[in-house]
Structures are given as structure tokens and as C-alpha cells.
């Protein structure tokens, strides 16, 4: 399926039909719930049972907010699609909803929010859907206002699907420019489907607490997801290798030299091969006329 970002602007793409999927499709609901749980975990709120005031940026139908509510937190949800917010009302989302564009800044008082999550939303900022849109300015406005509204030491966990490496670098660089410390945590990096990238940002100067948590499945741990069935052998990998341009062989006019040949012969000898002795003729230069 083509990326939704290149089909239409978010307020158009998430129309009633699309929004409906977020109440009827158990698959979407399950995935969203899983991601939000992981995001909340990465948020690393102190484990004292005190509810916090959190942001859900791109809250959509309130699926991610539901996870926050289940954990007792209060939240404010931002979304640009009226249809999605209507679904959120239908689902009786417990947080407060705002119809707003994150690229215009969040419009909150400084230092009041204890944490922010965002599920699959921030990459939308990279697309200019109107003539007045300038992705860089929108990223700057978003991260600047996010940094201001967060309390010192608070975290923001933004799960996003970047289209390519340039895009994720651009998003990251604007987050850093706004003053955030942090980086990307990738869960299931070796899987194409289950792979999820989380931008984990900490407000305030770098410290011990800003060290990044580890992504899941990094050390070969298998994903429990059913999508992951099938061994590596059964997959058709390597078909594109044929078309890959060959690495240019290093051509050195001088050749490898006597030392290299001696070393190789020694290696072969140690392996037990029958190698002629080193003499003055070994790796000698040929005459120019040859």
C-alpha cells in the first residue's frame, strides 16, 4: 500500500471511511494499543502511581489515549482530522481533544506537561500539503513548542514511520535544535513489518537519565508476532543483489609486492599446504619488455 502521507493531507486522508477503520478493525486497534504501551514504557514516568498530565499528539480516534487512561493518566489529545476526533468522541475518549495542527505549534503554557507521546504522526510534518506549508518551519514550530510546554526532565516519545533516512535525519536534527537530548530506539530492527522506530527525547541538558533505553529484538530475540513466521532461508533475499553495482576492484599499478606474497605463502604453509620455498625469484619483478 502506498504511504498515506503521499496520498492526501491528513485532514483529508483521515475521512469518515478511514476513521471508521479505527473502530472496526481489531488488527489496527491491537497494533495501536501495542505501540502506545511501548511508548508509555519508554516515557519512563516515575513508578509512584501518581497520575500525570500527558500529551497525545495525533491522537486520532483516541486509541493511544485509551492506554494512557488505563494507566490512570490525564491527557490532552491533538489531531487535525475532525472525522477522527468524531470517532474519538464516539469511543468516549477520556482525555480532552483539540482540533489543531501540530505544525502550527502546540499553544500551551511553558513547563506544564509531564510527558508526550505521539503514534505515527510526526512524519506528516515532512510533507507540504498547502502552498503555505514549509516542512522545516513546521518541524521547528512543533519541536520548539513541544520543548517549551514540557517540564524539565520530561520525556517525549514519538513513534514515527519515516519514508527514508533523510527524512528521519531531518526530524531528528530539528528536535536537537529545539534543545532536546535523546535519540532513536528501534524495536525489532531486523524485521520489515514489526520494525518500529521511536524518537525518545528528553527535555533539558543531557544527563544520566537521558541515556537511551535499548530497543526490543536487537540481540536476535525473536518477535512473537505471527507476521514473523517463516525462517530466513525460506525468504527470497538476494534477488536484488544481482543488480547492485559491483564494488570497483582496486587496481594498483605496483601490484601487491614481495612482502604480501611472502605473507600469503607463510599463511598457506601454516595451513599445511605444500608451498615452494622462498627464493630470490619469489615475487620478483618482470622485465619491462614482457
Amino acid at each position: 500500500m502506498p504511504r498515506p502521507e503521499i496520498q492526501a493531507p491528513p485532514e483529508i486522508f483521515y475521512n469518515e471511511a478511514e476513521a471508521r477503520k479505527y473502530t472496526t478493525s481489531s488488527r489496527i486497534i491491537e497494533i495501536q494499543a501495542k505501540i502506545s504501551e511501548r511508548a508509555l514504557e519508554l516515557l519512563a514516568l516515575p513508578n509512584d502511581g501518581v497520575p500525570r498530565l500527558l500529551l497525545d499528539i495525533g491522537c486520532g480516534s483516541g486509541l493511544s489515549g485509551e492506554t494512557l487512561s488505563e494507566n490512570g493518566h490525564h491527557w490532552i489529545g491533538y489531531d487535525i482530522s475532525q472525522s477522527m476526533l468524531d470517532v474519538a468522541l464516539e469511543r468516549e475518549a477520556e482525555g480532552d481533544l483539540l482540533l489543531a495542527d501540530m505544525g502550527q505549534g502546540l499553544g500551551l503554557r511553558p513547563g506544564v506537561i509531564d510527558g508526550a507521546i505521539s503514534i505515527s504522526a510526526v512524519q506528516w510534518l515532512c510533507y507540504a500539503d498547502k502552498s503555505s506549508h514549509e516542512p522545516r518551519m513546521r518541524l521547528k514550530a512543533f519541536f520548539g513548542s513541544l520543548y517549551r510546554c514540557l517540564a524539565r526532565g520530561a520525556r517525549a516519545v514519538l513513534q514515527l514511520y519515516a519514508e527514508n533516512i533523510n527524512q528521519s535525519e531531518m526530524i531528528m536534527s530539528y528536535a536537537m535544535r529545539a534543545g532536546f537530548a535523546g535519540g532513536v530506539v528501534v524495536d525489532w530492527p531486523h524485521s520489515s513489518k514489526a520494525r518500529k522506530a521511536y524518537l525518545v527525547l528528553t527535555c533539558g541538558p543531557p544527563s544520566m537519565q537521558t541515556s537511551l533505553p535499548k530497543g526490543r529484538g536487537e540481540d536476535g530475540e525473536m518477535c512473537s508476532d505471527d507476521d514473523e513466521s517463516g525462517d530466513d532461508e525460506s525468504q527470497t533475499v538476494g534477488i536484488y543483489d544481482r543488480n547492485r553495482p559491483r564494488k570497483k576492484l582496486k587496481v594498483n599499478k605496483k601490484g601487491k609486492g614481495r612482502e604480501w606474497v611472502l605473507k600469503k605463502k607463510e599463511q598457506m604453509r601454516r595451513k599445511g599446504h605444500d608451498i615452494p620455498p622462498d627464493t630470490k625469484y619469489t615475487a620478483r619483478k618482470r622485465k619491462a619488455r614482457f
Binding site: I76, I80, L98, G107
Partner: protein, 122 residues
């Protein structure tokens, strides 16, 4: 929209330096009962602009909040209950938020404030 959110929101229009508090023009509001959590209230209290909260509660016809408040009052159960009621149990359903500097109206429909800006306000 609860008054908790109203207390955090400020006007986002370019060039506005004093966009807080947004004046609340409420036409319809409802009360929904929520469990009181004293820890949350104590945690959020320092972040609340008390005057804005008291003013907004008054706009919804709730006059039980004192004009001034400080952290020592949080020990009184009675005060906590009023604070809790104003902050989390009053939901504005229809009305508008008005920027104190420019007078720009942000309409509230079905409890959702429309904070979208026009192109020339960004």
C-alpha cells in the same frame, strides 16, 4: 474540554505575546463525575494558574473557588474537593475561547475546541 486543558492553553497566533488566559464563553457545559485523586491534585497545583481557573469556573457558574490559593490549602479535604470539581468534572461542550489580545474566537463544538489557525496567523 475540561478546565484543566483550558488552564494550559494559550493563544498561538504569531505576534501575540500575552495569549493567556483565553476568555471562556460557554454556552453549554456538563458535569461528569470523576474519582478524586489527591496525589494528582497536589502534583498539578503548582502548574495551575489559579486566577484563570477561578475565572473560568465562574464563567461556568461555579463560584465555590476562592480568589487566591496557596499550597497550604491543599491539606483541607473541602478545598481539594472543590479544586477537583472545577478542574476535572466541568466539561465545556459548546462555546468559544477568545484570545485576550486579538479577540480571535476559537469555537468549541461537541467539547472540542478548534485551535486551527489561518495561514496569515502562523
Amino acid at each position: 474540554m475540561r478546565l484543566l486543558t483550558h488552564n494550559m492553553l494559550s493563544c498561538n497566533i504569531k505576534g501575540v505575546s500575552n495569549g493567556f488566559p483565553l476568555r471562556l464563553e460557554a454556552e453549554k457545559w456538563v458535569e461528569k463525575e470523576v474519582e478524586l485523586n489527591a496525589d494528582f491534585l497536589r502534583g498539578i497545583f503548582p502548574k495551575i494558574e489559579w486566577k484563570a481557573l477561578a475565572g473560568a469556573a465562574r464563567a461556568l457558574g461555579y463560584n465555590e473557588l476562592p480568589d487566591e490559593a496557596d499550597a497550604s490549602m491543599l491539606d483541607a479535604d473541602d478545598f481539594l474537593r472543590r479544586f477537583h470539581h472545577a478542574l476535572l468534572e466541568l466539561h465545556v461542550e459548546e462555546g468559544a475561547l477568545v484570545c485576550p489580545e486579538t479577540g480571535r474566537r476559537f469555537p468549541i463544538n461537541k467539547g472540542i475546541p478548534n485551535m486551527l489557525l489561518h495561514e496569515d496567523e502562523v
